[in-house]
């Protein structure tokens, strides 16, 4: 029993990354109808960025946690303005190809400079060691990752529900045509939301740097699961993607314990089941599906 609980905690920790990434992907999709294939690449840039800043100017992990997402957010906004925006009015496949290409380019740029070997990044000293969770000890850093991701998700949720800007963004995310019809300039919010989504990916990357291998491929490896998470949660549903993120994390962890060879397929089995029963995803609304 304790072991199962431990696995669920493991799942919540890996789910934290899924949740942050899916959250960003989801707001971007909702707002622009763009499936941002470069999301994994920005996650990778977050981790690599933290490493580069540590390596060149000795910037600590704590500061990287602040600086890297801001820088990537700005980069994301430029990316949206200069490239993505030009293709939005066309078939979504164009933007899909664009972001796919950008992902490859970013990956190759990092590979060109640092090769494929992982870069060393150690844990911040403050989060070394483990904490007693009652039934078992657990690494302090991972507890922090989970707590941090929950706080970020809750803050995003509050911002979306309790502020005027949030309401506009949410309305534009979930019912763009209707919002426009009410005389609200949806376009104005597109760029900041895109940048925000990218910043979240970067944040997840910085969080990953001390506990995962930092290399050019880390984004490409995780992005497929993220897409499954977003589909399970419901495309464009903010609450859905976060919940599905933690859910998928837990399923994978428990799967690893009981059926290790099959654990990665479990996510996609779940995705298939969800699509069969609720085509719009667990928390998506039927009419939200554009045909």
């Amino acid at each position: 029993m304790t072991e199962l609980l431990q696995q669920l905690v493991n799942g919540l920790v890996s789910g934290s990354f899924y949740a942050l990434l899916a959250l960003g992907l989801s707001v971007i999709f909702g707002m622009l109808g763009v499936v941002n294939f470069a999301h994994g690449a920005f996650y990778m840039l977050g981790a690599v960025g933290a490493f580069v800043l540590l390596d060149t100017v000795g910037l600590s992990w704590w500061l990287a946690l602040l600086v890297v997402p801001i820088v990537l957010g700005i980069l994301g906004m430029a990316f949206e303005r200069l490239l993505v925006a030009r293709l939005v009015s066309l078939d979504p496949l164009y933007n899909f190809l664009l972001t796919f290409g950008i992902a490859l380019i970013l990956q190759d740029v990092v590979r060109l400079r640092y090769g494929v070997a992982s870069q060393p990044y150690s844990r911040p000293a403050l989060l070394d060691g483990s904490v007693d969770l009652g039934l078992f000890d657990y690494p302090k850093y991972q507890v922090f990752v989970f707590a941090f991701s929950v706080v970020v998700s809750v803050l995003v949720w509050l911002a979306l529900t309790r502020t005027r800007v949030g309401v506009i963004v949410r309305a534009s995310t979930e019912r763009p045509e209707l919002t426009r019809a009410l005389g609200i300039d949806v376009r104005r919010w597109v760029t900041p939301v895109f940048g925000f989504g990218i910043a979240l990916a970067g944040l997840a990357g910085v969080l990953a740097a001390p506990m995962r291998a930092v290399n050019a491929n880390m984004g490409a490896d995780i992005i497929i699961v993220i897409f499954a998470v977003v589909v399970i949660g419901g495309l464009g549903s903010v609450f859905g993607s976060v919940t599905a993120g933690y859910l998928v994390g837990m399923i994978t962890a428990v799967g690893n314990l009981y059926v290790p060879a099959f654990s990665q397929s479990l996510v996609f089995v779940l995705m298939a089941l969800v699509l069969l029963v609720r085509p719009a995803g667990l928390f998506g609304r039927e009419e939200g599906v554009r045909t």
């Binding site: 070997a117 880390m218 499954a228 290790p260």
Partner: protein, 410 residues
């Protein structure tokens, strides 16, 4: 629409994850007065630092040294090296090898990390009756059931890794093992070899779990390890490259050492140690075919390699150099690049060079056996210079390091 789009996205995602550069191949017509060497390796993926462009460079370095040494009596002055990227995929490796042998008239192929790709090329070598020297892949199949007269296996294999590390760690008192291995040919082969070695040395493997490949989250196994009954003395990890980095980071995170579960690594290169950081690994035992600062002779070569490439060589780079050199010398002695004549020169040959010590090319199964080394990762304070990661624990004599010829019928 949205659902359909996501399906397309997922398919493309799989493509992205396995994507690398396009294949390249050397051109040139077959000329009677030329030796052509081909290096097929991973130029952009997970093994491109272990092998990759520096394997090509090692081959070129061997050619330059050979040309210099035989400035007046060389069988030919025209030796060229071409390269191809196999992206760690057997079908691409197969095509690249065919192009090299058939179209470009390549006489011998070198390197080839990734076991499945290596086995594909061995088959092509056999069909074309052209030589292939594997230094990059670890599977014992190359000199076992799938051996052939034109394929030589240099440097290392899963048996040698398992019997070096598995046997010693068990004999030192870590009797109970828990093994995790990546779920593909190499990992499965490693698990088998380690289990054999551990059981022979009087240990037991309490549990062995396959892990997804590639994988960035090993927390399940880190939580499981200390809870197993009986509790394992040591966690044997068979992951390579980025996966290995993830495993070791998380092993440390979960404080398994303090919980009494030691760490043994199946296959590790200097590049991995640099990625993980010496602090996290110091004291870890592993087996290697060679390391760059093991003695003056090796260091001298490694220095020249660094001058050329800016990097310290992995044992794969050293093995490529050694294999190219031994091949060219055999051609020189035979006076021809005819594969069967060169083969006669090589089979049964005993030699020693900076890489392969007390080496013998076994005629029965084409395993190139030589001394190998059980080493330990140094502590940070013991490191005297950049890249000085390992210290020798025990030299394993050639006869003991590799398995007896098994299941090979040429």
């Amino acid at each position: 629409m949205a659902t359909k789009l996501m399906a397309a996205v997922l398919v493309a995602g799989v493509t992205l994850a396995g994507c690398g550069g396009g294949p390249q191949s050397g051109g040139g017509k077959v000329s009677g007065d030329a030796i052509k060497l081909g290096v097929i390796t991973d130029l952009s993926g997970v093994y491109s630092d272990v092998g990759g462009k520096n394997s090509v460079e090692a081959a070129k370095m061997a050619v330059d040294d050979f040309t210099k040494a035989h400035s007046d009596d060389a069988v030919t002055k025209n030796i060229d090296v071409s390269q191809a990227d196999h992206q760690n995929k057997p079908e691409i490796a197969n095509t690249a090898a065919r192009e090299m042998y058939d179209r470009d008239g390549v006489d011998a192929i070198f390197d080839v990390p990734t076991s499945s790709a290596a086995l594909a090329i061995a088959t092509v070598a056999k069909q074309n009756k052209k030589l292939y020297f594997n230094t990059g892949a670890a599977t014992t199949e190359l000199t076992g059931a799938q051996c052939n007269a034109y394929t030589y296996h240099y440097a290392y294999d899963t048996y040698m890794l398992a019997h070096g590390t598995g046997t010693t760690v068990t004999e030192q008192g870590a009797k109970r093992w828990y093994i995790i291995y990546p779920d593909y040919a190499f990992g499965q082969d490693m698990n088998k070899s380690f289990t054999e070695a551990i059981e022979k040395a009087g240990g037991t493997v309490g549990a062995a779990d396959p892990t997804p490949f590639p994988n960035d989250n090993f927390s399940t196994f880190m939580t499981k390890a200390p809870n197993l009954n009986p509790k394992p003395d040591v966690l044997g990890v068979m992951q390579a490259g980025g996966d290995l980095v993830n495993v070791v980071k998380q092993y440390n995170e979960f404080g398994l050492k303090a919980k009494g579960v030691g760490l043994a690594v199946g296959l590790m290169f200097d590049t991995d140690i640099a990625s993980i950081g010496v602090e996290s690994l110091s004291g870890t035992l592993f087996t290697t075919a060679w390391f760059w600062n093991m003695d003056d002779k090796s260091r001298e070569w490694a220095d020249r390699f660094k001058e050329r490439t800016g990097k310290r060589p992995t044992f794969d780079h050293a093995a490529v150099y050694s294999a190219v050199t031994q091949y060219l010398e055999a051609v020189q002695r035979a006076g021809t690049d005819d594969a069967d004549a060169v083969r006669k020169e090589l089979d049964g040959m005993e030699f020693t060079d900076f890489f392969a010590r007390n080496a013998k090319i076994r005629a029965e199964d084409h395993s190139v056996v030589h001394d190998s080394y059980l080493v330990k990762v140094k502590s940070k304070s013991a490191m005297k210079e950049d890249g000085d990661f390992t210290e020798l624990v025990r030299k394993i004599p050639a006869a003991e390091a590799f398995r007896k010829p098994t299941g090979c019928d040429m």
